[in-house]
Amino acid sequence: DTAVSQTPKYLVTQMGNDKSIKCEQNLGHDTMYWYKQDSKKFLKIMFSYNNKELIINETVPNRFSPKSPDKAHLNLHINSLELGDSAVYFCASSQDSTSGEETQYFGPGTRLLVL
């Protein structure tokens, strides 16, 4: 069983398009995250949701909008895609976010290429 799954694995699209990436976790965790990993492998948090509520929103352009229909899902919608959005996007989840001790479990990543 895949603990944290993301779809699609690869996404190639034109500038200006709108696209979504889906994430699902079957671990029963309360908190989910989106990270962006750039071409230099630098990994940066974008958003964090706890029980469907947004708790972290780093300085991400408002073209990026996370949506959490329930605590097992956190989807990422991107409007008006730009070349600089090309990266690998990782979803992650953890049991609880309040203690800071929780291990995060990562999905396989979605490789986005904007042409």
């Binding site: 492998k41 630098f42 972290i56 800071g100």
Partner: protein
């Protein structure tokens, strides 16, 4: 602001060599520390973590890390590396609930 520094961007070793990857963080309070590994084409996996107690932490696959509070360091070590250890290694710090700051990663290449 919190930050994590991994000064070694790319480390190349021969099999059976000993490994030490540096990690320094900047935060004056209590921190939780992690090392994650990303094998080629795969997602990040936890190697080990430190929250409290014994500053020498044992992880999976023979890795260990030592938390030295006075040096703000959490270096990763392995006495004898294998070709299968080829991967990207990320140090991470959690000083605020739900927010992990990752270092820029160290690419480890092992020569067979």
């Amino acid at each position: 602001a919190q930050s994590v520094s991994q000064h070694n961007h790319h480390v190349i070793l021969s099999e059976a060599a000993s490994l030490e990857l540096g990690c320094n963080y900047s935060y004056g309070g209590t921190v939780n520390l992690f090392w994650y590994v990303q094998y080629p084409g795969q997602h990040l996996q936890l190697l080990l973590k430190y929250f409290s107690g014994d500053p020498l932490v044992k992880g999976i696959k023979g890795f260990e890390a030592e938390f030295i509070k006075s040096k703000f360091s959490f270096n990763l070590r392995k006495p004898s590396v294998q070709w299968s250890d080829t991967a990207e290694y990320f140090c991470a710090v959690n000083a605020e609930a739900s927010k992990i700051i990752f270092g820029s990663g160290t690419r480890l290449s092992i020569r067979p």
